[in-house]
Structures are given as structure tokens and as C-alpha cells.
């Protein structure tokens, strides 16, 4: 019986694969387009050639379209988790499966996690089944404080790998517990950061002068070699890549604002437990924050201000907020979908408007890392999730998940185990 079931599932997947070019109509959807503050009721979402064609109430269904009935339930853009280590850690306690951290001498900000991604990770499959289609996967510490390395932006495709683009951000960590031995005072960490960017900036300008202007790009002959630390920092200095700064304490958040101003770079505050205390300054400097929406304990002395309404406070002040890391270390990768949605729901329960919490797990992250817009606007890539209830309720399940306009498999180890042992759970 089990064999037959598996067989039919495989056949279904083949059918999906071979029909990639057929148009799809999702009907009777409560469609959160993320381009308006309310959902489109009873929407027909038309998809063709991997892209969204239209989202209209009671829209007509083309005769050649494959129809997926949403049955009145919510449909959203794919969920984006803005801070994970998906594809980089399989089993925390199995060193051979951990690729998030460079311990190699001399590999600093240039450390590029994109070369270590595992698309077949069981964690990736579970995240996809939970409606996650995009994720930032960030490095932990490198050999050169205060840098971690370059984050990768993932798209959780089932074929062709999960890397969307490498070098989505340069990551650094500054604070009390982040460099216990190597870097000493956080003041020294700031100085190291400034020194590294100062040096890269000098080299950058030198390279630029060789090419006849301060904003010229270095080339292989005159600039830093591609992928080198200086080249990576140069991309930040040119404004092409954001600097993602893991800081929590208010003093470090304000120091980060000063740094962004002095070096004219785009930064993103990661973690930001006390960012709410500098909400107005962050808003004025247009610096976004990636929050753990579940953090409300004084986890470290840098995070005495952790609170569940931090997202609401930041939003009201005008700060762009995205969510990631939900639930701390155990959950950020192992439940990158479920616990992120739970965290967004908690933010709503603590004062964040519903649509803003949805943005924090869809569009806002794309504004930081790229990889599309995270909306259902016409012309956008059709990364879409159908839900069996409110997506911010942890008891809700993702149903059909579309990536690039095609339904993808949501098979995963947990579901396979549950199915295998379900017959033992005979009602008593």
C-alpha cells in the first residue's frame, strides 16, 4: 500500500515537472498581494511562464489553465526568513555537517557561505513545506573580528540548487558576548571595523584614481582581487551590498548609526534587541532592523531591553522591520518557517498591524536582500503559498507552495516519519 502511495506521488511530481509552462489559476483566494493593506477577496491569481499575470476578484480562468482552488483561504507571497543558517547546518552536534563558520586563518569578511550550501538538507525541505521560499543564510564568526563573512540569499528551489545570489550582505558582529576571547572590548571591535573599512576605502579610492575617478570600479589589474576582503568591503562602500551588523545594546545600535553615516554605507541592524530605544534615530537614518520577534528575555547584558512589542515600536517610528532568528538558536534553522510565523503572530498580538507583520516575513526582507519583491504584483516571480488558515497562526499549515510559478514538492523527513508510524497510533 505504501509503495502504491509513493508511486502515485512520484507520478504527480512528474506531471508537475512536465507541465511547467502551462498557465495556472489559483481561484477563490484571500490574496495578500502586499501591494495593498487589505487582501483581495475571492481572488483569481493568474500565473504564466513563472510570473504573476493578475490578481482580481472573481477573475476569469483561461480555458488552458490548471486550476488550484484556494477555497477561500489566505494566499500570500512566499515567506522570507531574514536570518537563518539554512543549508549551512544539518546537525548542530555533528561537526562534519556544520559549514556556517570560517575558522581558516586569513579568511575574514570575504568568507563566502554560498560555496557550502546543501540544497538536500532536511531543514531546507521542512522550511519549504512550511511556506518558506526565500531566506538569508548568514555566516557565524570568521577568523577576523569583527567580521563573519558574506551571507547568501537562498531561494528554496527543488531543482538547480538553492542559491539565489551570493554576497547578499557582509556580516559583522559587535557586542559583549560575541567575541569573548579574540577581540576584547566592544570599543576595540568598532575600531577594527572602522580600520578595515578605512583601509578598503583607501584602496578603493586608489583603484578608482587609476581608472580616472573616485567612483570607478577596481579591476583585476589595479583593484583588489575579486572575493578578497578588500573587494568585498569595497562593494559595501560602493553601496552595492549592505553591511549586516549583529548588535543588540542601545550604545552599539547608536554606534552603528554613526558608522553608517561616517562611511556612507547601507547597514542593516541584525538582532537589535534594544534597537527600539533608538527607533527615531534609526528611522531618520533609514536603517532597517531584522528582529527576533520572540525575544523577550534578558538573554545577555546587551539585551536587557528585549521586549515583544519591539517590532511595533520600531514600525510606529517608521523603521523597516523584517523578522528572522525566531526563537533563538534552536529554531532559527530547524523551524525556519513555523517559528518565524509564530513570531510574526506574536508581534501582532503585541501591537504590530497584521499586514505589517506579514510584510516583515515577505516584502521587507526583499527590500534588504533583493531576490524579487515579495509581492503578488503583476510581472513578479510567482513564489506563492496557499494556506489552510491564517499564516501567522502556528497551527496553520502551508498547502501548495509555488516557486517560480510551479508547485514544488513539500515532502520532508518529518512528514515521512509521521506517515510511517501513523498506523501505530490506533485510536484507544
Amino acid at each position: 500500500m505504501k509503495t502504491v502511495l509513493l508511486g502515485s506521488a512520484a507520478i504527480a511530481m512528474l506531471a508537475i515537472s512536465s507541465a511547467s509552462s502551462e498557465p495556472i489559476a489559483i481561484t477563490h483566494a484571500k490574496a495578500w498581494t502586499m501591494t495593498a493593506s487589505d487582501p483581495v477577496p475571492d481572488a483569481t491569481i493568474l500565473i504564466d511562464d513563472g510570473r504573476i499575470v493578475s490578481v482580481t476578484t472573481n477573475g476569469a480562468v483561461p480555458s488552458d489553465a490548471r486550476v488550484i482552488d484556494a477555497k477561500g483561504q489566505p494566499v500570500t507571497p512566499g515567506i522570507l526568513n531574514s536570518a537563518t543558517q539554512l543549508g549551512l547546518i544539518e546537525v548542530s552536534s555533528a561537526a562534519g555537517t556544520r559549514d556556517q563558520s570560517s575558522e581558516a586563518h586569513g579568511i575574514g569578511p570575504g568568507f563566502d557561505v554560498s560555496m557550502g550550501l546543501n540544497p538536500n538538507s532536511a531543514l531546507v525541505a521542512l522550511a519549504r513545506a512550511d511556506g518558506v521560499t526565500g531566506a538569508l543564510s548568514y555566516p557565524s564568526k570568521s577568523d577576523e573580528a569583527p567580521f563573519a563573512g558574506q551571507a547568501a540569499f537562498l531561494k528554496l528551489r527543488t531543482e538547480g540548487g538553492i542559491l539565489d545570489h551570493a554576497g547578499a550582505a557582509v556580516v559583522a558582529l559587535i557586542g559583549g558576548n560575541k567575541w569573548p576571547k579574540d577581540a576584547g572590548s566592544r570599543a576595540a571591535q568598532w575600531q577594527m571595523l572602522r580600520r578595515a573599512f578605512g583601509k578598503a576605502s583607501d584602496g578603493h579610492h586608489d583603484a578608482g584614481r587609476d581608472k580616472g575617478g573616485p567612483h570607478g570600479h577596481g579591476d583585476a589589474a589595479s583593484g583588489p582581487p575579486p572575493g578578497s576582503d578588500d573587494a568585498v568591503l569595497g562593494a559595501v562602500l560602493e553601496g552595492r551590498v549592505p553591511l549586516a551588523l549583529f548588535v543588540d545594546r542601545e550604545s552599539d545600535v547608536r554606534e552603528a548609526i554613526r558608522f553608517a553615516h561616517d562611511f556612507s554605507v547601507h547597514i542593516v541592524i541584525m538582532g537589535g534587541g534594544e534597537a527600539w530605544r533608538a527607533a527615531d534615530a534609526l528611522a531618520a537614518a533609514r536603517i532597517p532592523v531584522v528582529l527576533d520577534p520572540q525575544a523577550n528575555m534578558p538573554t545577555s547584558f546587551d539585551e536587557l531591553g528585549n521586549r515583544l512589542d519591539a517590532a511595533a515600536i520600531l514600525y510606529r517610528a517608521g523603521v523597516v522591520v523584517a523578522f528572522g532568528m525566531a526563537g533563538g538558536a534552536i529554531e532559527e534553522s530547524y523551524n525556519a518557517g513555523l517559528d518565524l510565523r509564530e513570531g510574526a503572530g506574536l508581534a501582532v498580538a503585541n501591537g504590530m498591524p497584521y499586514v505589517e507583520a506579514l510584510k516583515a516575513v515577505t516584502t521587507n526582507g526583499h527590500r534588504l536582500w533583493g531576490g524579487g519583491s515579495g509581492t503578488l504584483a503583476a510581472g513578479e516571480t510567482a513564489d506563492i503559498v496557499l494556506w489552510d488558515g491564517d499564516p501567522l497562526e502556528p497551527s496553520t499549515n502551508a498547502g501548495t507552495v509555488l516557486i517560480d510559478g510551479r508547485p514544488v514538492s513539500t515532502d520532508n523527513r518529518q512528514r515521512a516519519l509521521e506517515q510511517r508510524y501513523l498506523p501505530l497510533a490506533t485510536p484507544q
Partner: protein
């Protein structure tokens, strides 16, 4: 006097002595393992009787009452039903549109010993586990608890009215647990539930063996088979101790066996007086431990974490052993690879007593949501769990693990009035615990929260108080 009667008296005297807070010298009537050297001094907070009306009540035992009323007098539930008579002059709490459940019970926390922020002293020598030996059965975790842990008040705000603090799982025999109400106090005795059966923590699998493999000065087991041999050896010594005590209690020996804090704790397990909470993940580990328990004639009250419990429902049901599980933790270590979200729902369907536990002060604020996750995963494989059934996973089943199933975890006449009024269905992430009642007294009121954080740690620091 028949032996049966004598035993009955012994049980009664022992029960009284536990309630009174106990004597420190064993007598023929009180075996040493029943002595509580750290008796409770808990007193309920100031309280008044009340009638709660118009609520959706989940009684914790499987019943749902729409538009239900609940009468509380002298800290106990007196009546539950629809349209109860309003005793003259009694305070009425209108719960129109809101839900009422028993207080949430968390059977697995490390509050007061895993106290954030962690600092150098925690890295050097944490209070979560005593590491001088694989057998620290002589330790009582209540002697380590820092009551200013913000985890207590956060849990209370999440509707938790009773929690068990366990020692960590590095030693095999990890020590005595303590059951407390998460109220503000200056010492743990003032939070300790009086008359609760004593609990004990044991651990199997990866944690104890890796601890002893790492330690240079401890010669404990470094393998699973070594752990099992160690456990059997220890229980054989405990059998001898228990038999010696029985000879003394029956007047067959002139003197009691010399006190030994480790051996007597294990003898208390064999006597059925001390409830075993056993940390295990894998189904084969749990099956082995059930065999060891059968060999020595005791019952394992509960497996904690029990990531693979869903693979052995019949075994657990047959042994009368509960499983305390997570909503969604899995994968971070080898023995946790096969954790599944539907674990609780699969076990419940198979008739196994199952409970959601936290092990974390973050998760411990939302055990109701952990239950909702398990139910959501179950729905995806065709198992529907209604709220009145789900609530048992965080109330009455949890009470059973603590041996308190006739006192808490259910809203029925005679039970302690530990309850929560929720702003909405408690399995929704948007639901808030509006009112948390312990022994009939309001312990937390969202409408008038304390002006400052209940924990001294957060008091007087710069910035707004924690909301």
C-alpha cells in the same frame, strides 16, 4: 494489628508529615526517602471568592462547556456548569467572549538555575547540573534556585500556574526536582507546592555518556551500555537498602540502615514514593529503560523529550508511562533527528498520556501554542484534535506526571482553583492570558500589571519596563 493496617497507618503518617513539612530524623513510620528537608512555606496570595460567567470553558479533562460558569470558594473549584446560581454578594467576573482553562502546567523547566543573562560563572560551573559524579541522587535542585529568574514571571504571564524545575541531564541520576508556583518570592520554599510527591530526574543516551567521556576526573560510563549497567548496579544497592529498611520497619531489625542520601533516594523510587522523570530521546533507549524499570519493579512516570515516543505508543501505554514532548524541536543532535511535530497528537490518539514541556524559558511562555503546533501537524495527516482534547496536553496529563492529578490540571469540584482567563481561544497565537489565578487568588492581571517587573533583576534599570 494486621500488616495491611500497619502499612495504611505508615502511609497516613507519612502523608501528614509531608504536609506539615517534615521532620528531619527518620522514624519507623517515615522512611528516610520521604523526609523533606526543605519543606514548603507557600501560602496562597490574598484571595476572594468569585463566580466566573459566560466563558468557553475547557475543563482540562476533555470537556468543553460553552457559555459556562465556574464557582470558586476558598481557593477551590466548587461548581462548574451552565447558568450557575449567583450566590448573594459574591464577586462576578464576566468572561463573555473569553476562554477559561485550568492553569498551564510545565513539567520541565530549568528556571532559577539556567538564569539569563548567563555569565562567566555559569560557563565555569553552572547550577543546572551537579557534575561531580554520574550519580548525584543526593542533590535537591531547590537548593540552587535563584528566584529572581525572570523566567518565572514570564511563565506566569503566559498562564503557567505550576511548574517542575528539574536538574540537568548530564548525570545519570540527576537529583530531586521541585514543583513550584511561579509567584514572586525571596526563596524557593515560599513557591513550593506543599504536599506534592517528590520528583526525580534521570537521564539516558547522549548527555550522560558524553559528560563522563569529557570529564578527566570522573570515571562514569562513556557508552549507552555502560549507562544501563551503571543504573542496574545502583538499583541493586537500592534494593538492599529498601529491604533493610523494611526489616527495620517490621521490627525484624533493631536499627535502621545507616542513612545514605544517594541510595535512599533510589530506594524511594523502588518504593514508588518518588516519581521518575527520565530524559530519553530514542525509542530504543526508552524501550531499554522500560525493561530496566520492569526488572526492578518500578514505574517510570514520564519520559522527557521523548523525540521518538510516537514509534512505541503501545509500549508506553502498557507501562503506564507518560511522554513529555516539544511542539517542534528536533534535529539539533543525533538522538533528536527523528523528532516530529505530530508526536503529541500521535501519542494521544494511541491512548498514551502525553504532555507538552518547555525546557526553555522562551517556549515555556507559550505551551498552549506548542500544543497548537502539534495539533496543526496532526491535521495535515488526517488527525483532528479539538481544543477540549488538546488542552489535556498542558493541564491534566501534565498534572499526572507530577502525581497531582487529583488536585490540579482539571476544573472540577474540589480541585485547586488554578485557572486562566484567555482573551480568545488559547490555541491562537493572538490569545493573551488576561487573568491568571492560583489557589483562587489573582496572581497576574493583564488589565493592571505590576508597575515594575516582578523580578528584582529588572528593577530600576534604565529604559521602560518589560511589557
Amino acid at each position: 494489628m494486621t500488616m495491611r493496617f500497619a502499612r495504611g497507618v505508615i502511609a497516613m503518617v507519612a502523608a501528614l508529615s509531608l504536609c506539615d513539612g517534615a521532620r528531619s530524623v527518620p522514624s519507623a513510620a517515615v522512611p528516610p526517602w520521604r523526609i523533606d528537608p526543605f519543606p514548603s512555606t507557600y501560602h496562597p496570595l490574598p484571595r476572594s471568592d468569585f463566580l466566573l460567567t459566560n466563558a468557553t470553558i475547557l475543563d482540562g479533562a476533555g470537556r468543553r462547556i460553552d457559555h459556562g460558569d465556574l464557582l470558586v470558594r476558598d481557593g477551590k473549584v466548587v461548581q462548574i456548569g451552565a447558568a450557575l446560581a449567583h450566590p448573594a454578594g459574591m464577586r462576578v467576573i464576566d468572561a463573555q467572549g473569553r476562554w477559561v482553562t485550568p492553569g498551564i502546567i510545565d513539567v520541565h523547566t530549568h528556571n532559577g538555575t539556567f538564569v539569563v543573562p548567563l555569565t562567566d560563572i555559569d560557563k565555569e560551573s553552572s547550577d543546572v547540573s551537579e557534575l561531580n559524579s554520574p550519580n548525584v541522587a543526593d542533590t535537591w535542585i531547590e537548593t540552587a534556585i535563584n528566584v529572581q529568574d525572570t523566567g518565572f514571571s514570564r511563565a506566569l504571564e503566559g498562564g503557567v500556574t505550576t511548574m517542575q524545575v528539574l536538574p540537568g541531564s548530564s548525570p545519570i541520576f540527576s537529583g530531586r526536582s521541585v514543583v513550584v508556583h511561579p509567584i514572586q518570592a525571596t526563596n524557593i520554599a515560599a513557591m513550593k507546592v506543599a504536599g506534592a510527591p517528590q520528583g526525580f530526574k534521570m537521564a539516558c543516551g547522549e548527555n550522560p555518556k558524553s559528560q563522563d567521556a569529557d570529564a578527566h576526573d570522573i570515571h562514569g560510563p562513556t557508552s549507552r551500555q555502560g549507562e544501563v549497567a551503571y543504573i542496574r548496579e545502583a538499583f541493586m544497592a537500592a534494593q538492599d537498602y529498601r529491604d533493610a529498611w523494611d526489616r527495620y520497619a517490621r521490627g525484624k531489625a533493631a536499627t535502621p540502615p545507616k542513612r545514605d542520601l544517594k541510595v535512599e533516594a533510589l530506594a524511594g523510587i523502588l518504593a514508588g514514593d518518588i516519581h521518575v522523570n527520565m530524559h530519553c530521546y530514542r525509542s530504543d533507549d526508552m524501550a531499554t529503560m522500560l525493561e530496566v524499570a520492569r526488572e526492578f519493579g518500578f514505574t517510570i512516570g514520564s519520559f522527557h523529550h521523548a523525540a521518538e515516543a510516537y514509534k512505541i505508543p503501545a509500549m508506553l501505554r502498557g507501562a503506564g508511562t507518560c511522554a513529555a514532548v516539544w511542539g517542534d524541536w528536533w534535529g539539533f543532535k543525533m538522538e533528536g533527528l527523528d523528532g516530529v511535530r505530530a508526536n503529541a497528537a500521535l501519542l494521544d490518539r494511541a491512548g498514551v498520556c502525553v504532555s507538552m514541556h518547555s525546557d526553555s524559558a522562551i517556549t515555556g511562555q507559550r505551551l498552549n501554542i506548542e500544543a497548537a503546533k502539534a495539533a496543526g501537524a496532526a491535521r495535515a495527516i488526517g488527525i483532528d484534535v479539538p481544543p477540549e482534547r488538546m488542552i489535556r496536553w498542558v493541564t491534566s496529563n501534565s498534572a499526572r506526571i507530577l502525581g497531582l492529578q487529583t488536585r490540579i490540571g482539571t476544573l472540577a469540584p474540589g480541585y485547586d482553583a488554578d485557572l486562566v482567563i484567555w482573551s480568545a481561544n488559547p490555541f491562537s497565537v493572538y490569545a493573551r492570558a488576561d487573568l491568571v489565578v492560583i489557589d483562587g487568588a489573582v496572581a497576574y492581571d493583564r488589565a493592571s500589571p505590576p508597575a515594575h517587573s516582578p523580578s528584582d533583576f529588572e528593577l530600576g534599570r534604565t529604559g521602560a519596563p518589560h511589557p
